[in-house]
Subunit: 770 residues, 2 copies
Amino acid sequence: MKKELNHITKLIGDKKLTDKLLEGKFGLEKENVRVDKDGRLALTPHPEALGDKNTHPYITTDFSESQLEMVTPPLDTIAELNDFIATLHDIVTENIGEELLWTQSLPPILPDESKIPIARFGEKGRDKETYRELLSRIYGKERQLISGIHFNFSFSDDLLRVLHDALGKENDFASFKEVIYFRLVRNLMRYRWLLIWLFGKSPKTEDSFKVKSFTSDSYESVHCPKGISLRNCRTGYRNKEDYYIDYSNTESYHQSIRALVNSGKLSFDKELYHPVRVKYLDQDPQISHIELRLLDLDPLEKTGISETSLYFFHLFAIYCLFLNEKSNFNKDEQIIANANHDLVACFGLEDDMEISLFTGKLIKAHERVLTFINEMSDFVNKNGLLKNEQYQSAFEKVKDIVKNPEKRAANYISKEIEQKGFIDFHLKQAKIYKNETLKKGFNFYGLEDMELSTQLLLKAAVLRGLNFQVLERTANFIKLENDEKIHYIKQATQTSLDNYSSVLLMDNKQLTKKLLKENGISTADGKQYFDLKTANDDFGCFENQAIVIKPNTTNFGMGITIIKNNNDRKIYKRALEIGFENDETVLIEQFIEGDEYRFFVISNRVEGILNRVPANVVGDGKKSIKELVVKKNDNPIRGKSYRSPLEKLNLGEAESISLASQSFDFNTIPPKNEIVYLRENSNISTGGDSIAVTELVHQSYKDIAVKAAKALNVSITGLDMIIKDSTVPATPDNYCIIELNSNPAIHIHCYPHEGVRQKLNERILDALGF
Amino acid sequence: MKKELNHITKLIGDKKLTDKLLEGKFGLEKENVRVDKDGRLALTPHPEALGDKNTHPYITTDFSESQLEMVTPPLDTIAELNDFIATLHDIVTENIGEELLWTQSLPPILPDESKIPIARFGEKGRDKETYRELLSRIYGKERQLISGIHFNFSFSDDLLRVLHDALGKENDFASFKEVIYFRLVRNLMRYRWLLIWLFGKSPKTEDSFKVKSFTSDSYESVHCPKGISLRNCRTGYRNKEDYYIDYSNTESYHQSIRALVNSGKLSFDKELYHPVRVKYLDQDPQISHIELRLLDLDPLEKTGISETSLYFFHLFAIYCLFLNEKSNFNKDEQIIANANHDLVACFGLEDDMEISLFTGKLIKAHERVLTFINEMSDFVNKNGLLKNEQYQSAFEKVKDIVKNPEKRAANYISKEIEQKGFIDFHLKQAKIYKNETLKKGFNFYGLEDMELSTQLLLKAAVLRGLNFQVLERTANFIKLENDEKIHYIKQATQTSLDNYSSVLLMDNKQLTKKLLKENGISTADGKQYFDLKTANDDFGCFENQAIVIKPNTTNFGMGITIIKNNNDRKIYKRALEIGFENDETVLIEQFIEGDEYRFFVISNRVEGILNRVPANVVGDGKKSIKELVVKKNDNPIRGKSYRSPLEKLNLGEAESISLASQSFDFNTIPPKNEIVYLRENSNISTGGDSIAVTELVHQSYKDIAVKAAKALNVSITGLDMIIKDSTVPATPDNYCIIELNSNPAIHIHCYPHEGVRQKLNERILDALGF
């Protein structure tokens, strides 16, 4: 069969096979040690906010208590992988307080070895602790602190089945799969030095960094002249000696590793630190995926790994499947491959360094890389693997590096370390990334087209280690799940906690008011209209009064107009028309003077209060209202359609009517420091500002909000209340409830314009019992 | 104050007072004995379906187990009162099996007295039984079986407050109210003979009917020459002798009744069978309302009482408040009033009968009636009390009777009895009314504008003795309540039993299918489109296939078109347009051949299955499709907008497209007996026929329906399934689920076109825990 495999390239003429070749599952495991603001290893426990490291599927610790490990689930595309690790990185960053994530594989400033904390797993994880204690005795804690990235990869079963049909008929599918993957592993092992040569990013260590010697009781430094990946060098993250494994098939693979354990050279199978591992799930005898373990953290990337490298790894893995091989990667080949690995790790930045071909002949590494990448270029082009722009761009970047080896990141990192010092350079990077996250890390990358509330809920779900699935992106419909329960959630707040009829009551403003009144809660008085004519004929009833004209059942302030002291029939009629465009029933209510507050109630607790200020601009004496709006909208925190913490201000009809009632128009130039309100309604969705005042509002209003939610038997609601003075106790006359919303946004509370952020995403998960 | 009261008429010049005069609360208590098909008193127990007679607020028994009593709650208008008693009458009729409600106050064929069953109330109602046994000893069971109607009435507090402000300042409001009501009662007592003269309806008894004599051990017949209301005559439903009560005020009223009890003349206060009672609620010292007790059942009305008489009673009561009085209704006046009452009851149909004026002078009854009604006419006209058409019409009818006394119902009843016999005449009436109810008694009268499903749920609620409130008529939003719980319900099936996210899942057809598939349930495959152009460009994919084009989230079959073997781009495009008119997302699915079934699931049980047949007509070889549709729509069971068991067939665009795909149009004349389907979709809402097959469908499909409901965690749903052959077990290939509806109608199961009715209204109340 080997012979046929050497010719499978011919098969790929078929377009469908090309598509299938790019399919697969992709995962990352990434370690970052936590450091304090000065670049010292953090000696604090794994932050509680990050959950139980024993069971968390995405966030745990590796060897040390200070060594965070982030794990993605298997994902369908490299793009998703890149987005998920970026999101996970933000989530972790947001939950480690003042500490920073160390941006380099090689450790920061370390305390005495005795003070480096081994990860603690408690009663349930006693075995894990014992294993780590054993490791620290063999390898020393310093070596174990060297961090890295593992890239997990599998082909799609669809592809393997097509290949099996064409080539592997004499074997069953499981055996064929084994043949394929071991061939891939052997080639990855053979040519792994290329990845180090291209992507090595740990050229220098902190001056005092030393690791335990395997041969004596002393400590030795991890320093190589022109090293590109000290993590991968002989004194880096390695076993005591080189072990040779039989990579023929699953049986031989397991047997040769077992032999090492039986001979006492390794304590456990997993102690074999080879750069490529074959992975099996639980008791499943079939190969699950391949793990590529030699990747350094990239200090030049916030997430520690560039998209370019991920796309390239994928292409490299595909190419390795098709690379012809002449032997079964016997010990002689392994010796050469190991030597090349070590040479490149330690001398990779030297221009003329040489590596060995499997013939034993020496060749300049750069020359071999050029040949390899040229051949690979032919392969990927011929087989259409670059048809996707992202793959193409990644491959172009690698070709550029190959042409100009001085462009390799390690060169830049090396120089920066020389100039700024190892600690200062990496610390500066860490601080830049931390600030970026804290300032605008509100997105769930890859899902930015979903409502921000849903993105934030998903982030909280990841933080809690829940499984999640986006059921329908446009509808913001997701599924959250753990071992115990499943919840389907729309728009972050539409959950199974609320019942059908309560939602219908909330959505009917008249009925809401009726029930609230029956419960002794103040509401705005008003009249209901079913047609434009009748409402329009009642102009006289509302002339020169302050009124709100709004559709009976709508949300987000759509179709709501507030008119004060108006005696223009046309303005009144147009506001009615806007209302009727949004519903068959329109309400006209007295406009209550006071500030508008949004109370967010979850399970009979007020979890957040915003004072909502209508869309406004502040005059500078020069710019027109229109220009001021354009300027205010320039702030990246303002977006469109609930994808950002705040919404852009509009220059629409409602704004025009509101300005007209103040005798302004869009071209009016307001005096300096004068605040001009563009709308009467203060919804954030129409450009309003959100001021978080959860702790500042008098308790009596919170009690009323909870009473209102109880009256309608509602679990999650955004309740709008007008309050004359929120610091004095409520009386029947100094407040009124406008409505209860059945799909309130949470992002406005998580990221207010001003005031204390409330983690409503977490509170919703609490309420859901996660 | 009496003096001022004599002039309160002057106050009514004020329009607002007129409106207030007509306001009030109105109630009825009505007794009907149950009889078998031959007009014999039913000796069966009070039907279980009618609930617990100890506690039921609307349905109980009076003296005898066979003597049903229907009680309305206090209602705001006479119209509501009339509607409620009609509905209650239907509800009772539907739940007494083959038995009939006796249409006459005077009893049907009775068995031996010993066999007439006293009402049984069980452990809890031991006192009630003891009281009835006492009554049977004093009055004889035959007399107690005489049934009647009590009209309960109160003025609005608003009116009384206005009068109090104008007239009664020297008293507090409670005392003023007492003054008003006792004045009313005295005048009602004085002029009650008029009501008997006008509305008496028990002129004859069954030949053998006799009542126990108060003076001897014998039995005497209840026969009067030219009697108009034998129930009201001396041998009718009366105390042993005339008792004189002090009608001055609450204290004197209570005292004089107490004195009768203390002297042993009465056993209890309530044993005083006076024609007008002053009513107090529980321990409340204030008067609640006035009870007018002298009304006969009207055999000429299904409900036993005509709307005309109810409106007239109301006007009569108002007029009696304003009728001047010269004394406090002392014993002399009471003797005259009692005499007039007896005379009219026993001789009311005699042309020249006379009654006494309070001066003692005799006058022809007819003459006095003419004067009275003329004066009353002046009053009601002058004070605008007839501005409402119903009051006007009622008063006109009474004036006509007064002018032509031979038109009084008692004359007609009397003649009918003479011709057909007492039993046969009343039995015939009873059977007519019973058939009417069973055939088309689906409405909740007065709420016919609400969806039939809601009307039916309300009827079930009344049957169970629940309090109910229509919160919003147009939205079909109601509140049901008992001592233990409250439920808010929209459109009969949108309840708190379902949760928000499950409803959203149901409403999203794509997600529904996704989840069903994950649970191993077969669904229709399809494609989703977000714009017309893309969908239209895919014409080639669906050409000449059988497909369903439908909006993603809609109900009732709105916007759904089914096209078979179509190669006309225009038809395809138009169907898409119809879809996009109803939603932003349109699905195109393979049309699965088979019959369409609606499974109604409540709390994991299939409670009803309909085979839904698309709108169709059967040819007669002469009429065009259009004419056949018009004819089919003529059936009163077909209506519009879910107000009837079936919907009228349309002649719209969808029908036109469907006919075109069969090469028909509306003018095609189908051959005799050929069935032509006007739509492909079989929704009842688009004119389809409903065939109830709950017990005929193979259990495996019911299991699948329940599994589907569980998959979405849904309590109440209408699940649409295509089944190839519903008698053979389900396999993955012989059925598919189309959708789950979150607001399914129940009326189509309660009143199918064919097959066994399912009381889904009752099943929903079961599920709600009522």
